[in-house]
C-alpha cells in the first residue's frame, strides 16, 4: 500500500511553531484502517520454512531487546538476564547473541557488567517510564543518570497527555531535549504507546513527530498497557520510516514491543519489515523486538530445527 509522503519537508519551518507543526502533522494523509489491517494480515500468511526459517529465527534472536521491567527486578535477576543475552542457548554456542538487554535506569550498571565484552548493548527506559508523567527536569535527570551509568540506548516515552490534547510542540521539544541529554553515546528510542493513541492517524502523526525530533528508533509500546505491538501498527510505523528516509535520507529504526511471544509472530513482523521498509532494515541496528518470553520460543524452535524433535520449556531457562 503506497502512502503519499508530504512532498516538501523543511524541518525548520515545520517545527517553528505549534500551529505549523500541527498543520504539517494533520496534513499527513489519513490512514486507511481497513486496508492497513488487511495488508498486515495478508503479509502474515506467508509461509516461511526450512532454511529461510532458520535464517529468520537467528535474525530474530539477534534483534531481541531482552527486557525486564518489573518493580521486583534485582541485580541478580539482571545478571541472569545479561548471561542469557550473551548466551541465549548455552547448549548451542552457534546461537547469536541478542541485540540488547533493556532495564530500568538503576539497573544499568549491573546490566553493563553482566554483558561486558560481548557486544550486547544495554538499553534503559527513562523519562518516568512507563507513564511519562513527570516534569521535564525529572525526565532529563532520569536520562542523564542512565547515560552516566553507561546505557548505550535510551527508551523514552512521549507525553501522551500533551500529544492527545494537541500540544505537539511540547512533545517535540521534550524529545529534542532528551535527545540532547543522550549526547553522542546513546541512541534514542521514542515510545509512542500506540495503545493509548486511539487512532492509526495519531500513530502516523506521532511517528513523523518523533522522527522530525531526531529519534534514532520509533517504538510502539511500553508493554504495560492492554494493546501493545500489533502487525498493523508496526506496518504503519514501517511505512513512516520508509517515507521519512525517502524524504530526508535519514534512516530511523523501528521497535515493536510487548505482546510478541511466538516465533510465528516474530517471523510475521520480519516479513512486514522486508516487504515494507526493505532489506536495509533487516538488521538489529534498525529493527528490534522488545520482548522477554519471545526468546524462549525462538530457542525452542531453533532446537527443533537442529534436532528434529519438538523441544519443551524444560530445555530453556526460566525467567
Amino acid at each position: 500500500m503506497p502512502t503519499t509522503a508530504p512532498t516538501s519537508l523543511a524541518p525548520a519551518d515545520v517545527t517553528s511553531s505549534d500551529s505549523s507543526l500541527r498543520r504539517f502533522l494533520h496534513g499527513l494523509p489519513g490512514v486507511d484502517a481497513v486496508g492497513l489491517e488487511a495488508r498486515a494480515a495478508a503479509l502474515g500468511t506467508r509461509s516461511i520454512k526450512t532454511t529461510a526459517k532458520a535464517y529468520a529465527i537467528d535474525l530474530a534472536i539477534s534483534m531481541v531487546d531482552l527486557t525486564t521491567l518489573e518493580g521486583a527486578d534485582t541485580p541478580g535477576k539482571v545478571r541472569a538476564l545479561g548471561a542469557k543475552a550473551v548466551h541465549p542457548d548455552p547448549t548451542d554456542r552457534t546461537t547469536p547473541t541478542t541485540a540488547a538487554v533493556c532495564v530500568y535506569p538503576d539497573m544499568v550498571a549491573a546490566a553493563k557488567e553482566a554483558v561486558a565484552g560481548s557486544g550486547v548493548k544495554v538499553a534503559s527506559v527513562a523519562t518516568a517510564f512507563p507513564a511519562g508523567r513527570a516534569a521535564l527536569d525529572v525526565k532529563l535527570a532520569d536520562v542523564r543518570d542512565a547515560v552516566a551509568a553507561g546505557a548505550d540506548e535510551i527508551d523514552m516515552v512521549i507525553d501522551r497527555g500533551a500529544f492527545l490534547s494537541g500540544r505537539y510542540l511540547k512533545v517535540y521539544d521534550e524529545i529534542v531535549a532528551v535527545k540532547e541529554a543522550c549526547g553522542t553515546s546513546a541512541r534514542l528510542k521514542v515510545i509512542f504507546e500506540t495503545g493509548e493513541l486511539s487512532t492509526y492517524d495519531n500513530i502516523r502523526r506521532a511517528s513523523w513527530l518523533g522522527m522530525l525530533a531526531g529519534a534514532d528508533f520509533i517504538k510502539t509500546s511500553t508493554g504495560k498497557v492492554a494493546v501493545n505491538a500489533t502487525p498493523a501498527n508496526t506496518l504503519l510505523m514501517l511505512e513512516a520510516v520508509r517515507d521519512f528516509r525517502a524524504q530526508t535520507g535519514v534512516q530511523v529504526g523501528v521497535k515493536p514491543a510487548g505482546g510478541i511471544r511466538t516465533t510465528k509472530d516474530a517471523v510475521k513482523f520480519l516479513v512486514l519489515v522486508n516487504e515494507t521498509a526493505g532489506e536495509d532494515w533487516l538488521d538489529n541496528h534498525w529493527f528490534r523486538f522488545g520482548a522477554s518470553s519471545l526468546l524462549n520460543d525462538l530457542l525452542m524452535q531453533r532446537q527443533k530445527l537442529a534436532t528434529g524433535r519438538y523441544s519443551g520449556p524444560d530445555y530453556v531457562t526460566v525467567d
Binding site: Q303, R309, Y310, S311, G312, P313, Y315
Partner: protein, 295 residues
C-alpha cells in the same frame, strides 16, 4: 411431505477444550466394518500433535493440583454425561466394530462403568501405593504418588471405545494430562468422547483427542521433549520398537503394548501406577535433642 435432507456430522479434533479442524486441512474417510462410508475424520499432522502437547502442558498444573476428590467428581460427571448420550455411542461402536446393537450396548455400558471405576480410584490410589516407611534413623519416611506429566496415549486399534477409555481414564485419574491418538480405522467414538469431555467439567487440555494415521502422529510425540510418558497400546510391534527408541532421548516412561484378551475384565491398578512417580519426604520424628523436645 418432502423427505428431510440428511444432516451429516463434521467430526473434529478435541484440543485444549476446543474443536479445531486439523491444521493441515486434511481429512480421511472412515468406514464401518463392511467398508461403507460413515464420515470424514480429521487427519492430524505433527503440528496438531505439537499444539495438543502445548495444551496438555498448560492444563497439567491445575489438573494435577486439583484435589483427588475433585478429580473423582469430574470423572464421575463424565460417566453421567456418557449415560445421557448412550444411544449415539451404541450406534458408533456397532458401526465401528461390526457388532450387533445389543453387543455394542454391552460395550458402552462396560465403558461407562469403567469411568465410574476409575473415578472411585482417584482418592484411593495414594493409600494403596503410597506408604509410611519406617527407616533406620531418627526420621520417618513418607512416599506418595505424583502424576508424571503429559502422557501420549496411543489408543488400542481394535477396541474403539472401551479400549480407548480403559487407557485414557487411568492417565487422567491420577492427575496427568493426555494427548490421545484415536484408533486409526475407527476414530469416531473417540472424537465423540471429546464432545462429552467438553461438557463434563473436565478442564480444557486435560484430554486432547487426535485422529489420523497413528504412525504419523505418534512419531513426533515419541520424540517430543515435553512429553513425559507414552502408552503404546495402539502400536504394532514394529512401530512400538521405533517409538520406544525415539522416546529414549528424554527418558520418557514407556508402557509397552500388552495383549489384552478382554477389555471388559477388571483392569487392576497397573495402568494408573505406570504413570505415577513416587515422591519421598523425610520427616523428623521423636526426640531430637537433649531437651527431649520433638522439634
Amino acid at each position: 411431505m418432502s423427505e428431510r435432507l440428511s444432516v451429516f456430522k463434521t467430526y473434529k479434533l478435541y484440543v485444549g477444550g476446543k474443536f479445531p479442524r486439523s491444521e493441515s486441512g486434511r481429512v480421511y474417510e472412515v468406514t464401518d466394518s463392511k467398508g461403507n462410508w460413515l464420515a470424514n475424520a480429521p487427519q492430524s499432522s505433527r503440528k496438531d500433535a505439537r499444539d495438543a502437547v502445548v495444551a496438555a502442558r498448560k492444563a497439567f498444573g491445575a489438573w494435577s493440583g486439583a484435589t483427588a476428590y475433585n478429580r473423582g467428581q469430574v470423572l464421575y460427571r463424565v460417566a453421567e454425561m456418557l449415560e445421557g448420550r448412550k444411544a449415539q455411542f451404541v450406534r458408533e461402536v456397532a458401526d465401528a466394530q461390526g457388532l450387533s446393537k445389543s453387543k455394542a450396548a454391552e460395550q458402552v455400558d462396560a465403558t461407562i462403568d469403567r469411568w465410574v471405576w476409575y473415578a472411585g480410584w482417584t482418592d484411593k490410589i495414594a493409600q494403596v501405593i503410597g506408604g509410611a516407611n519406617p527407616v533406620a534413623g531418627p526420621y520417618f519416611n513418607l512416599s506418595s504418588p505424583e502424576p508424571t506429566g503429559v502422557v501420549a496415549v496411543l489408543a488400542p486399534q481394535e477396541s474403539s471405545f472401551l479400549g480407548l477409555v480403559s487407557v485414557v481414564a487411568p492417565v487422567i485419574a491420577t492427575g496427568s494430562t493426555a494427548v490421545v491418538i484415536a484408533s486409526e480405522e475407527s476414530p469416531l467414538p473417540a472424537l465423540s468422547l471429546g464432545e462429552v469431555l467438553a461438557t463434563s467439567d473436565l478442564p480444557g487440555g486435560v484430554v486432547n483427542v487426535l485422529s489420523g494415521r497413528t504412525a504419523e502422529i505418534a512419531a513426533p510425540l515419541a520424540a517430543h521433549q515435553d512429553v513425559n510418558a507414552i502408552d503404546l497400546a495402539g502400536a504394532d510391534e514394529a512401530l512400538a520398537k521405533e517409538l520406544e527408541i525415539a522416546a529414549a532421548d528424554n527418558l520418557k516412561r514407556v508402557l509397552r503394548p500388552q495383549p489384552v484378551d478382554d477389555w471388559a475384565a477388571t483392569p487392576g491398578t497397573d495402568r494408573m501406577t505406570a504413570f505415577l512417580e513416587t515422591k519421598t519426604v523425610w520427616h523428623p520424628t521423636g526426640s531430637l535433642g537433649a531437651s527431649g523436645s520433638a522439634y
